[in-house]
């Protein structure tokens, strides 16, 4: 299983120790042994990482593994293989499964299945309400005891403000956050994309940015009132970024994430596709919730990620079957398959000079860990400290590749990026000391 490996000569970035230098990383029996220069490595498998970046494995706070119940979209085996290809060594599984992860038995099923079939770490997120119906609290204590690292009704907001208040208060007893998908339903009713000129051009119903930001403001107010921790899922608007920034400045316990697609793609992708052009595409693979927004919102999210208002990148990996996207735009499912393109897409920000590489690595490793406090569950996670789990990713920031969904490990081929060239590739992923992904071309 796990072996003795020495990764030689890479640029080692370990945000936890503010390390950014050329070094060797020695792993043994699933743990980091040391990060040194010219380390001895008797009997270890040597990996030449010269020209590559060596970093802690990525952590995704927002993955839809679809298992149990929706295995035709994804399952724990395929989803974690997709994670490995994307450089992720930990994924947090969202609870909108069938049945929902609103009870201990389902969470235990996920953990049991993950122990048998997953190739990276799976940390479950429990539902806030029974059946995710937004009416009565799920047994959060039981879910916490089963190993949940947070609670969310994601896919839907916690619409009822009192339920949200109670959830925040109750969850604080276990030191766990409530993760909210912020969307005021009365403002977004019937919407299939962002409201603006693109929606008008396409004749599609749009949701205004205020549908998101008004609920972010509400959640911030409730977090301030209760002293509890709210984590805002997939922030996508300038107003929401501003709300989080102001709240943090006031000392409210709020954290936030943004997806690679909301950081890089605009609502024009729905009309014209990620490759651009003049022809209207009605690209159902660009139909996501929250919707892709105009450039100004994208810029605000990038600024928020750079200055730390947004704590981390999270994929909102939402795999769907082909037929759920090969249909009229209104009928198509929301979501895109995101694990395998996350790093390459975010590298656009680095190549554009909007973010430095070390910061991006932080936002995909230590950032998410600190946002949810995952190091309490997995000590040493997302660090390269001696004794930490040997979760490592090797990256080539310059390598260009063309997105081909047919090569995804995910069952979800739903990405608007098919045919798009991304610069920045995951070369290899080591999870728990085991090589779980090696890119075909690069490693010798």
């Amino acid at each position: 299983m796990s072996e003795r490996i020495i990764i030689r000569g890479g640029r080692v970035i370990d945000p936890a120790r503010r390390l950014d230098e050329i070094a060797d990383v020695l792993l043994d029996s699933g743990h980091i042994v040391e990060v040194v220069r010219g380390g001895a490595a008797d009997g270890a498998r040597e990996i030449d990482a010269r020209g590559l970046v060596v970093a802690p494995g990525f952590v995704d706070l927002h993955t839809h593994l679809r298992d149990p119940g929706l295995e035709y979209k994804e399952d724990i085996a395929s989803g974690t293989r997709a994670a490995a290809r994307g450089g992720f060594t930990t994924v947090c599984a969202m609870p909108n499964t069938q049945p929902a992860m609103d009870n201990r038995a389902t969470v235990e099923y996920v953990l049991r299945t993950a122990a048998a079939e997953a190739i990276v770490r799976v940390l479950p997120i429990g539902a806030v309400s029974k059946d995710r119906a937004g009416e009565a609290l799920a047994e959060l204590g039981d879910l916490a005891a089963a190993g949940c690292v947070g609670f969310s009704d994601d896919g839907a907001p916690v619409d009822d403000a009192t339920l949200m208040r109670r959830a925040l208060e109750y969850a604080s007893a276990f030191g766990l956050p409530v993760i909210d998908h912020c969307e005021e339903p009365s403002l977004s009713h019937g919407a299939v994309m962002h409201e603006g000129w693109v929606a008008t051009r396409l004749g599609l119903r749009g949701a205004p940015a205020a549908a998101e930001s008004s609920m972010v403001e509400r959640d911030v107010a409730l977090a301030a009132a209760t002293g509890a921790h709210v984590h805002i899922a997939h922030v996508s608007t300038r107003a929401a970024v501003d709300a989080v920034r102001r709240a943090k400045a006031r000392g409210v316990h709020v954290t936030a994430e943004a997806t690679p697609h909301h950081l890089t793609l605009t609502d024009e992708t729905v009309a014209f596709g990620a490759l651009g052009g003049d022809a209207l595409l009605y690209d159902t693979d660009a139909k996501v919730n929250p919707p892709l927004r105009p450039q100004d919102d994208v810029d605000a999210c990038v600024d928020g990620l750079a200055d730390g208002t947004i704590d981390c990148v999270a994929t909102d990996h939402a795999p769907h079957a082909l037929i759920e996207k090969l249909c009229e735009f209104d009928e198509a499912a929301f979501g895109m398959s995101g694990l395998e393109t996350a790093f390459g897409l975010c590298m656009r920000l680095v190549h554009a000079g909007r973010l430095d590489l070390a910061t991006l690595v932080e936002r995909m490793t230590l950032g998410p860990v600190r946002a949810l406090g995952l190091d309490r569950v997995v000590p040493g996670i997302a660090t390269l400290a001696a004794g930490a789990p040997a979760d490592i990713v090797l990256l080539d920031p310059e390598r260009a590749w063309v997105v081909d969904p047919e090569r995804f490990a995910s069952k979800g081929k739903n990405t608007p990026l098919a045919g798009v060239t991304l610069r920045g590739a995951v070369v290899a992923t080591v999870a728990g000391g085991r090589m779980v992904f090696e890119s075909e071309a690069e490693l010798v």
């Binding site: 409201e195 000129w197 004749g203 009605y282 090969l326 249909c327 009229e328 209104d330």
Partner: protein
């Protein structure tokens, strides 16, 4: 796609006596008619002159020509429509095509068969052209992407209704000549109107001054301040008395009852008081101004009975021109479609 129909020997170049194909029909390269947002003046001109020829055919004692003999046109309407469907059907028949009306339920999803499968099935049966009406914006684009036959959009959701806009233009030109510099006021529920969207594209591309008038709740987002090329360059005005001043054409849009209850406006009374096209308001337009309506009309709501049936109304003329415009579209589309498969 394979065709199970035994290919009939087709006239080498469709014999079209007296349908004088325009001198420059190479201007037409489209296999599908989906929207007018990317039409050039040359193509529009070709459509208009072809429509003239079709009008001439319709005026004959026996209005039949064999131009599309051997072609199969299927109408696939997921939404009810009397005038558009029968207008397309007649257009096909006048040109000698076989026209088959396919019954479709209100939604392909509830029916179980996907739109793509339905289109491929119709094509396999032998459709050369599918004329499609769908409640979902963009549905014809999906069909066109997966079809080798021609797709004609007969109205998709809130998005576009190109043949309606073409007949509106034809009707305007019959009265005004060129529309360049003419002031066209479109009043009413622009937000939910595919006709308005297609009209705005077509008229602005020909240099007409288009003013859109509605309460702010019924104006699409981004219309007033869109960047160049994003949306048609129209002016937005919320006061109808101001909007109609010196107008050449006033077009009223249907105000559906569900908008009254949907919170977009307080109700019929106030809406008709503020936005009804009536004689008093029309008096502010140019003396020769005329009124149009894509139908069906809610008389007494968006348009007064007197105006709808008055001397300045062109509503019936619109309907009559519909057949000729659709003949022109089917004729031009089929020539390209036929060539592309040959």
């Amino acid at each position: 796609m394979t065709t199970i129909r035994t290919p009939e020997p087709r006239p080498a170049e469709p014999a079209a006596p007296a349908i004088a194909p325009s001198p420059d029909d190479t201007a037409w390269r489209r296999r599908h008619l989906l929207d007018l947002d990317d039409f050039g003046a040359e193509e529009i001109e070709l459509l208009m002159t072809t429509t003239d020829a079709m009008k001439e055919v319709l005026a004959r004692e026996v209005p039949r020509v064999p131009a599309l003999r051997g072609s199969t046109i299927m109408t696939l309407f997921y939404e009810n429509s009397t005038r558009t469907r029968s207008s397309f059907e007649l257009a096909g028949k006048v040109l000698g095509a076989d026209v088959i009306n396919v019954a479709a339920s209100s939604s392909s999803v509830t029916k179980g068969e996907s739109l793509v499968d339905t289109v491929k099935t119709l094509q396999a049966i032998g459709a050369d052209v599918i004329v499609m009406r769908h409640s979902r914006s963009g549905a014809p684009y999906l069909a066109a992407r997966h079809a080798s036959c021609s797709i004609v959009n007969a109205g998709d959701g809130l998005h576009a209704h190109p043949t309606q806009a073409l007949l509106d233009l034809y009707t305007m030109r019959a009265r005004l000549g060129d529309v360049r510099g003419r002031k066209v006021v479109i009043v009413g529920d622009v937000l939910h109107s595919r006709v308005a969207r297609s009209d705005m594209w077509l008229l602005t591309s020909l240099g007409a001054e288009v003013v859109v008038c509605a309460p702010p709740t019924l104006i699409p987002q981004g219309l007033a301040d869109a960047g160049e090329g994003q949306l048609p360059p129209v002016r937005v005005e919320t006061d109808l008395d101001v909007a109609v001043r010196d107008a050449d054409v006033v077009m009223a849009l249907r105000m559906q009852n569900e908008r009254m209850t949907g919170g977009f406006v307080p109700g019929v009374r106030e809406y008709s008081r503020l936005y009804q096209v009536n004689e008093g308001r029309l008096a502010r337009a140019k003396p020769a101004a005329f009124v149009m309506h894509p139908g069906p009309m809610n008389e007494g709501v968006e348009i007064s009975h007197e105006v709808a049936h008055g001397l300045q109304s062109q509503v019936e003329g619109q309907v009559a021109n519909g057949v000729a415009v659709r003949m022109a579209v089917l004729w031009l589309i089929t020539r390209v479609g036929g060539r592309s498969r040959a």
